[in-house]
């Protein structure tokens, strides 16, 4: 017991950002899970929880928020036009949520395939990869149609709805979502393989990359499509 306490104390005193072989040693010797040991090392009695979280999260949160806001630049330039189409205003937060979530799903599932060694040389002929793409694409179309129906209903109950405008909004939303799913999918595959070949965990890079692209791309592409169609 004294032995394990000694090891745990030593683990706590290690600088957080350092990966230390002691984690592996304690895990093997005492069969304590790596997750528990990681938690003890990160948030143990001698660490400052607030400082630790702030230090690790601030940069990535700041970056993610700024990238998301950059997408708003494009829409800000066409604000009067954008605001005049109420269904698009209603759909904006939902579209951002939706595409960001699909980015995270595609990235994490592709990374799992990589770790399981199920991805061969012929990437785009991989059956499981095709399955992920089809699932996400079908679900994105279903949720977009659901969002369109709700937004049209609310607009109709409010200020009324023009059929031609509604049709254009359907086209804009579907092109936006489908284009971004394809883009995120391609980026996830190439970036995922790149990081994996460099012996890095793609999980740590792909999700922030794809969710930021989703937010930034969604608003940028929406702005372009609004200018083209409306």
């Amino acid at each position: 017991m004294n032995d394990i306490n000694k090891h745990i104390k030593k683990l706590i005193s290690i600088r957080r950002e350092k990966h230390h072989p002691l984690v592996h040693h304690i895990h093997k010797k005492y069969n304590i899970s790596r997750k528990t040991l990681f938690y003890i090392k990160e948030y143990g009695p001698h660490s400052h929880v607030v400082k630790t979280i702030m230090k690790e999260s601030l940069k990535i949160l700041f970056l993610a928020s700024i990238i998301s806001s950059l997408g708003g630049f494009a829409l800000e330039f066409i604000k009067p036009l954008f605001v005049s189409f109420i269904p698009l205003v209603i759909m904006l937060p939902a579209l951002n949520n939706m595409i960001g979530a699909y980015g995270a799903i595609i990235s994490s599932r592709f990374t799992t395939l990589l770790h399981e060694g199920k991805v061969g040389k012929k990437l785009f002929k991989n059956a499981e990869l095709k399955n992920i793409f089809c699932q996400v694409m079908i679900i994105s179309i279903i949720t977009t149609i659901f969002s369109l129906l709700i937004s049209f209903l609310m607009s109709y109950l409010g200020k009324g709805l023009d059929f031609n405008i509604a049709l254009k909004i359907v086209i804009i939303s579907l092109i936006d979502v489908m284009f971004l799913i394809c883009l995120i999918f391609i980026i996830s595959i190439f970036a995922g393989v790149y990081y994996y070949k460099n012996n890095e965990d793609p999980n740590n890079f792909l999700i922030p990359i794809t969710t930021s692209i989703a937010d930034f791309g969604n608003m940028g592409i929406l702005a372009v499509l609004i200018i083209i169609f409306l």
Binding site: S33, K35, T36, Y39, I40, Y43, P45, H48, V49, V50, I53, M54, S57, L58, L61, F62, A64, S65, I66, S68, S69, G71, G72, F73, L75, E76, K79, V83, I86, V89, I90, M91, L92, P93, A94, L95, N96, N97, M98, G100, A101, Y102, I105, N131, C134, Q135, V136, I138, I139, S140, I142, T143, F146, S147, S151, M154, S155, G158, D215, M219
Partner: protein, 179 residues
């Protein structure tokens, strides 16, 4: 097999977060004449909405990890780790809200030549209001779900993004009234 368990899981979580987004969008549309009058609001809005999910989502994930490895007990909330997590989440929200405000202010000033400090105060006040609701909500829902035998990791993501959007828009409206 396309229509497997994964398909159902993704569809269900997607529907939850989309519904939250739509609800927030409806509030946005109702008060469009007030919210969209502010210059630079579309620069501020996506980052502001994103922030809520990011901060409360990671808070929930950290608490979940702690619960699973028994470092956090669901019935003992006055512990150092939980207090630290809550304080950190609130501080992060304050800093990011302020930064977003500065970013939107710079955009207004350099691109449109508009000088308005309202755009800095707005996310700051709204960030405080939204997080005073969202952070305890995320914490207690995570603890509640765990106590009921659910894995909070599977539920909290869509839950936080859905409730986060709604509280953010309501907080923005309240901040508009205050400013």
């Amino acid at each position: 097999m396309i229509f497997d368990k994964n398909f159902k899981d993704i569809l269900a979580s997607s529907m939850i977060s989309t519904s939250g987004g739509l609800f927030a969008g409806i509030i946005l549309a109702i008060y469009a004449d007030k919210i969209f009058l502010i210059p630079g609001i579309l620069v501020l809005l996506p980052g502001f909405l994103e922030m809520r999910g990011n901060i409360s989502g990671t808070l929930s994930a950290r608490i979940s990890s702690g619960l699973f490895i028994h470092v956090i007990k669901p019935n003992h909330i006055k512990t150092k780790i939980i207090k630290g997590n809550v304080i950190a989440a609130l501080f992060l929200a304050l800093i990011i809200s302020f930064s977003l405000g500065l970013f939107a202010f710079a955009f207004n000033y350099y691109i449109f030549g508009i000088f308005t400090t309202k755009i800095i105060l707005l996310p700051l006040i709204a960030g405080v209001i939204a997080n005073l609701i969202e952070v305890p909500l995320a914490l207690f829902t995570t603890l509640y779900l765990f106590k009921k035998g659910h894995d909070p990791n599977n539920i909290m993501g869509p839950f936080v993004s859905a409730t986060g959007d709604i509280t953010s828009i309501i907080a923005l409206l309240l901040a508009l009234v205050i400013v």
